[in-house]
């Protein structure tokens, strides 16, 4: 049985559904991210797990107990907020010990646990400081330590890294993941940043407009997007319209260019117009080895991005980008050259109906 279950959860505000029929089972110790653009319902869902919003319908069970209508202070979940939410009138130690004091733990226990948590987040030298004396990254680590100090059943993180600069975000997210793994705590992480979600999650729930688009591991979400939204939102994507020419062989015609795809064509027939997608990094130069699809193209532009070289190509009438790893002996063509690029049939995804 799953440790945390959200079953047919919906939340309605006036006439609008912020979350609609959300279903998810989370195992103990799992790190799940809710990923999506602003307004997709990810934070509302998290707040329903925390108890700050009551679902319009559905059930939430935690370790077998129904917590749907339980008050937030009775759920024993730890929460980390985007704005840190540290108590300004308390020091780092006092903030971390607050939850234990509320639970009437002994002074000795509080002292020991606070020391343990301060050490966990590497803030030993700052234990007696007030929040205004700390940097953003330090404040967020205090917030994390405070949430963990009470040994919560579930750790909820509501875009905890959004207010931090890029470098701190990268280091802190790794730290969060490391601590979560070490303690074996079940965690739900809300973010709109796909890189964050992909890099630290066991599973990702991609949401859009109140609905779940796809649930899967980062690998599945990235390589096998099931909806056009997931394909477009996660990673970069080349898309184009194409016509189905043979459903058994997986053949498509993209403006006179033949493509072969390994995608299932159930429900499709010859002549159907579909939207296809190919990730930029799935292309390679044919000179390095040919795959199922070999395409003649013209080099339109080349952009050097450091570890990656982005090549803008024209395949027939369709413009694509191709990302290739940079290495010293890379033989790049010149702008205007006619070359052949290749990709596997698995790289050609079918997203749905063609768009105008």
């Amino acid at each position: 049985m799953a440790y945390l279950t959200l079953s047919h959860i919906s939340k309605q505000f006036a006439e609008t559904y912020a979350v609609e029929d959300f279903n998810l089972d989370i195992d103990k110790g799992e790190f799940v991210s809710f990923l999506g653009p602003s307004g997709c319902g990810k934070t509302t869902t998290l707040r329903m797990v925390a108890g700050f919003e009551i679902p319009t319908s559905g059930r939430i069970t935690l370790d077998g107990a129904d917590i749907t209508n339980k008050a937030p202070n009775q759920r024993h979940v730890g929460m980390v907020f985007q704005s840190y939410a540290l108590f300004p009138n308390m020091t780092v130690s006092q903030n971390i010990g607050f939850g234990l004091r509320v639970r009437k733990a002994s002074e000795a226990e509080i002292k020991e646990r606070v020391k343990e948590m301060v050490s966990l987040v590497n803030l030993e030298k700052h234990a007696d400081k007030y929040p205004f004396q700390l940097s953003g990254g330090q404040q967020q680590r205090v917030s994390l330590a405070r949430a963990l100090a009470i040994r919560p059943n579930v750790l909820l993180l509501d875009e905890p890294l959004s207010a931090l600069d890029a470098k701190i975000r990268v280091s802190l997210r790794a730290e969060i993941r490391s601590i979560q793994r070490r303690l074996g705590i079940t965690a739900i992480f809300v973010t709109h940043d796909q890189e964050e979600a992909l890099s630290i999650s066991d599973r990702i729930v991609v949401m859009y407009d109140g609905n779940v688009e796809q649930v899967g591991t980062p690998f599945d979400i990235y390589n096998f997007p099931r909806t056009p939204f997931v394909a477009n939102f996660v990673g970069s994507l080349n898309t184009a319209n194409a016509e189905v020419t043979d459903t058994e062989k997986g053949l498509l015609n993209m403006d006179g260019v033949q493509l072969v795809s390994a995608a299932k064509m159930d429900g499709l027939k010859k002549g159907d117009k579909v939207r296809i997608a190919i990730r930029p990094e799935r292309f390679s130069f044919a000179s390095e080895g040919k795959k199922a699809n070999v395409l003649d193209c013209q080099i339109e532009n080349i952009t050097f991005l450091g570890s990656v070289v982005r090549v803008h190509i024209l395949v027939g009438k369709t413009k694509f980008t191709m990302d290739t790893f940079n290495y010293p002996s890379l033989a790049l063509p010149q702008i205007g050259d006619m070359v052949q690029v290749t990709c596997s049939k698995e790289a050609v995804l079918i997203l749905g109906e063609a768009t105008s």
Partner: protein, 289 residues
Amino acid sequence: MNLAKVQTLSKTSKPKPQTRRIPVWSWFWFILGALYFILPLYATLQFSLQMKRDQITLLAYQKAFEDPQFIKTFTYSNILALATIVAGIVLFVPTAYWIRLRLPEARRLTEFITFLPFVVPAIILVFGMIRIYSTPVKIPFTDIELFQPLTTTHFGTNILIVAGYMVLAMPYMYRSVDIGMRTVDVRTLTEAAQSLGANWFTIITRVILPNIRASLLSGALLTFAIVVGEVTLASFLGVNAFGPYLFLLGQHLAYQPAALSFVTFLLTWMAMGLIQLFTGGQGQATGAH
């Protein structure tokens, strides 16, 4: 050009820091405004020091402080002020908190209500209170009396006057609390405390109140200044407070009222000074991210 010369020149001819020049007219209006406040105060002080002819003496102050009625009324007014402050905190803090947290649509109505004491004179308030509370409180449509008229007992009158003072101090106390809460992210702090297991009482006493300390102090000191000097409510409710005492003293004496007026001014300025002292540090201790 010789670089060494340029460097030497730059060392010896550093630009002087520019001092801000205040326009003459600003000084004029400042001095005029200061004189408007200071001159009458100085006149009062000077008068209070002239109880003995051709001498500067503190005799007026001595006589005023020696009067047992002064001690009695001043102490009583201080107790009333304290009771008003405590009752105000108990009423206004949870109200402002709840409106900020759950009832933002009630803000405008509440703000209107808190401004009413500026519009309704104290004399109207006290006559209304006397009218209502000078009769027994009965269960509607019966003759069963729940409470005796509050105006007939000392305890009842004290309750009435504290309630009246709460109304007079409401614009200052409520707004101080409301402004204090605006500087604090009340909602997120509440949710953080709730997620850690705190109940409402713990949240208000351990999270909200400490973070609006400076605002509470502002409101408290303003309330103190209002209560200690208040005359109308105290006179009509017949309580032996400092305001009426000072008024009566002025009817038949000259120097002592001047002395006590000056002392009251000083007390009020002290209260303002304390507000400045404590609110000056609030920005660092609360809410800096």
